[in-house]
Amino acid sequence: MCLAIPVRIVELLGDDLALFDVGGIRKEISLALVDDVKVGDYVVAHTGYAIGKLDRDEAEKTLQLLASMAAGEPAALAG
């Protein structure tokens, strides 16, 4: 299932390492597989590595779409 969750980078530690936070849990993560990560960015964390960045705008868009689908808005449901 490739367990991976979005986590927020709270500190860059240098050497391709960073500290992240998720729900009050903080842990080290490697940034060796991603570029240009800044504090405050969300990344997808898998086995201690960021395997990609999380696009917050896209996340919001998806949530809006879900909300409108749930509301049964025809636009959202139009295939």
């Binding site: 490739c2 367990l3 969750i5 998720v22 729900g23 009050g24 849990i25 903080r26 842990k27």
Partner: protein, 349 residues
């Protein structure tokens, strides 16, 4: 002629000393360890008898006896240590039969080389937990095993308690229709422990919930003497404990995910490690099953107690020949909450 002086024994070096094989030999070094550390810390009239067992007053009511070996690693963790855990764990097993815990016995298996400073810290924590709980450690035992044949310290505690007339708490008394309550947030202890494990380590504010629950139990029995089942969801967590009770009582259960009290940090740690918080250990929580009619009163009594502030009614006992524990997911679906299979290991997929 020279005067004869009183024998002088250099006191235990509780700062830099270490356990060595002589501390378990039965001889003077062991007597010194017992005198200067154990007897001093746990001091009470029964321990002071100085025999290999304790002679205690006649106990009123039916007796309860429970024992648990404590082997936690690491020995010190956020919110507690093996010492207070060993006191709470056994007090809780006694209390879960509706009994008033009266006495504890404690047996220590020390590993050669274990720092006496750590041992002293653990014993102090045990002693203060026992004092706070009002349950004295009345007898004990100390063994030392060679380095590499133990793990610092193992502590087995055994508790004896007494059950008042009219109380009939037992795991086989859950009946369809009964309410299932839990006294607070789930998984705190297990997550606190995991946060310190090598190769997993993370920083967290989550502390172990280790606590003695007999006061809470007394408060519940005060409002409903006929509680059906009490059990502390320790190893295997809520899920396994409910399955145990379901099997014992020959019933099914239906719980509601949305009602389960969970700290965000516990959920987050579980997401991160691929664990299910329903299987993570608790050390200061209890499950209470009682007639639906008294559920509100029992829940109110729980919430009024400092150890039950986050209590919740999480489900209902149902009739089920398969003794399944089912859960209505927060999402609206339904699934089994099975026994723990194997041990819960962190996953990556």
């Amino acid at each position: 002629m020279s005067t004869v002086r009183k024998a002088y024994v250099r006191p235990l070096d509780l700062k830099n000393g270490r356990v060595d094989m002589t501390h378990g030999s039965g001889g003077r070094a062991m007597a010194q360890l017992i005198d200067e550390l154990f007897a001093t810390s746990f001091d009470n009239e029964w321990l002071r008898q100085g025999n290999d067992g304790a002679l205690l007053p006649t106990a009123p009511g039916r007796l309860v006896m429970a024992t648990d070996a404590h082997v936690v690693s690491p020995l010190f963790f956020p919110g507690g240590d093996i010492g207070c855990l060993a006191v709470h764990g056994t007090i809780n097993d006694v209390a879960m039969l509706g009994a008033t815990p009266l006495y504890l016995a404690a047996s220590f298996i020390l590993e050669e080389g274990f720092p006496l400073a750590d041992l002293a810290r653990i014993v102090a924590s045990m002693a203060s937990a026992a004092r706070d709980a009002g349950v004295p450690v009345v007898t004990g035992d100390t063994k030392v095993v060679e380095r590499g044949h133990g793990d610092g310290v193992f502590i087995t505690t055994t508790g004896v308690g007494s059950v008042a007339d009219g109380v009939r708490v037992s795991g086989d008394r859950a009946r369809p229709g009964d309410a299932i309550l839990v006294s607070g947030t789930l998984g705190d202890h297990g997550v606190a422990i995991m946060s310190l494990r090598e190769n997993l380590g993370f920083a967290t504010v989550v502390e172990s919930d280790t606590a003695a629950l007999h006061g809470l139990v007394a408060a519940l029995l005060a409002v409903e003497p006929d509680l059906h089942v009490l059990r502390d969801p320790t190893r295997g967590g809520l899920a396994t404990t409910l399955n145990e009770i379901a099997r014992q009582s020959g019933v099914g259960m239906l719980i509601e995910e949305a009602r389960l009290p969970l700290r965000e940090a516990v959920s987050a740690a579980c997401e991160l490690l691929g664990l299910d918080p329903l299987y993570v250990a608790n050390e200061g929580k209890l499950i209470c099953i009682c007639a639906a009619a008294s559920a509100d009163a029992v829940l109110a009594a729980m919430r009024a107690h400092p150890l039950g502030r986050d209590a919740a009614r999480i489900g209902t006992v149902i009739d089920d020949a398969q003794h399944f524990v089912q859960m209505e997911t927060a999402f609206g679906g339904r699934r089994i909450v099975d026994w723990l299979n194997g041990e819960q290991l962190p996953r990556i997929c």
